[in-house]
Symmetry: C2
Subunit: 306 residues, 2 copies
């Protein structure tokens, strides 16, 4: 294979109670990327549309991932990358993770599938270091594996795929304000009460069990975040109003996507997810803040060839 | 039904990473209890074998549960209780929970199954208040529902049954030293680092997923307790040696049962569980401490009529 065009999904990390441990991939929102072999033995980025990102390979998330993979595999070719971003960096929807995961997946295609999904996740995590300073796995793992994932452990890295009901549909609102990942992390206290921690891991257990058994009521009861949401929600205008509107419209639960500012809701049908989208729209349409709303099934495939 | 004889299982609470949120019931170890209707409209305890426990109904765990149920249901009869304990109070194996759950289950039989399992758990929790001062649910819920349970929430109470592989077998060593539940709780710090909490709920998620999918490797990797075990293990002589011996013999994991002093291990076959029992025996046999060792499958039924 000398060239490959791929779709790299947007992803929702944390998933309410699953702070820093869970994520899922969206089917209907993501970047397109085009990769072709070159004779240069290096990495070039010849086109970037939809966002202002560096063209220098060693400063670009996709470039860094590709450079590391070519070096690790001692490849006898180079790669040219074209990036077509369909959602904005800084959204809390894993923009850098899509670039990193998309590159890891695509370069692996050019290398005849030399690497496992776990290895691709590790390469993509190096891209996350370039983007936000730390090697976080939740977004990139969701983008590579698809569906719901659990980052059970970092050292050694252990990614668990969690099945989910096929009807499960996400509604996302992206208010176009800036929250830097680093700033959002700073508001999280370094210690939490043991009682809060117990309540949180009981909900993680409930969410994982509900996903395994297609138990929408259990999923709904478990989508409660006692840790990050209470500390971060003030960073997002109208968070409580959006969340209440989503729940009132029938959503199973709603919370902050990653470190925000996007807010996600999960619903048990596309019809309800569309109602949730309308309710979110009603809250924001006179707010004076630009925003986008997306409705999408969960992506079972993650990054894929198109 | 005018009389009923039941088996009330011993239970393991916490289950390593699932501190204060998970529990499971043993098939091969538990108390026998005999209940018969009387005309007195009150509760009497006419026999207690195997442990020194109060005969006054309002001071006895079983008596308290029975009294509350008769009152709540406005029953036109009384109950006499005979208790045959097969494992000792203070073991960390849910001795009071077995009495409480067994009574809740049996009196419900005499009441023609008036109450749901959730309601029975609430009645049994009142017995736990009598025994240890707090209305904890993990042992009693495991004893009533059977199998593995998750206490997802306390208010309102939400008990989730988690399936488990039929081959899963527990090995328990009960060193006959005294650790009071209240004392064991005091050593747990009231705050924990957020990083520790994340690692813990990632393991809870992994354990729940592994139980759902019969993935023994995942169960094994997830049976890691970053919270209670490190703070409590010094209370149990030879804990590290016992745990290492269990793992070396093929156990999937091992940790403290409830607040101790019993230590449990889980294995993927009875053969391995027996090897683990031998290894535990080797560690304790010259210790000068009295101990019992049990090997048991997980009870799928919990409390049952015999």
């Amino acid at each position: 294979m000398d060239k490959v065009k791929i779709f790299a999904p947007a992803t929702v990390a944390n998933v309410s109670c699953g702070y820093d441990a869970m994520g899922f991939a969206l089917q209907g929102l993501g970047d397109e990327m085009f990769f072709s072999k070159t004779n240069s033995k290096t990495v070039t980025i010849s086109k970037i549309e939809g966002a202002k990102l560096p063209f220098e390979a060693n400063k670009n998330v996709a470039g860094v991932v590709a450079l590391n993979m070519l070096k690790d595999s001692d490849a006898d070719f180079g790669v040219d990358i074209q990036i077509f971003k369909n959602f904005k960096p800084g959204s809390g929807l894993g923009s850098s993770a899509a670039s990193a995961a998309g590159t890891a997946f695509a370069v692996n295609q050019l290398l005849n599938n030399k690497y496992s999904n776990l290895e691709l996740t590790k390469f993509a995590m190096q891209g996350e270091v370039t983007a936000c300073g730390s090697a976080i796995a939740d977004n990139v793992a969701a983008a590579i594996y698809g569906g719901f994932i659990l980052v059970r452990n970092y050292d050694p890295l252990d990614i668990i795929q969690i099945p989910s009901p096929s009807e499960l549909t996400a509604t996302i609102i992206h208010p176009q304000i800036e929250i830097k990942t680093e700033d959002a992390r700073k508001v999280i206290k370094s210690e939490i009460p043991i009682k809060t921690a117990i309540a949180q891991w009981a909900n993680v257990g409930g969410l994982i069990s509900g996903l395994h058994t297609n138990d929408f009521d259990l999923i709904s009861r478990s989508l409660v975040d006692h840790v990050a949401e209470p500390q971060r929600k003030h960073l997002i205008p109208h968070f409580d109003t959006i969340k209440n509107a989503a729940l009132k419209s029938g959503a199973l639960g709603a919370s902050i996507s990653g470190s925000g500012p996007s807010i996600f809701a999960l619903s048990k049908s596309t019809e309800i997810a569309n109602n949730v989208a309308e309710a979110m729209d009603m809250v924001y349409k006179n707010s004076g803040i630009d925003y986008n709303i997306y409705v999408s099934k969960i992506s079972k495939l993650g990054t894929k060839i198109i």
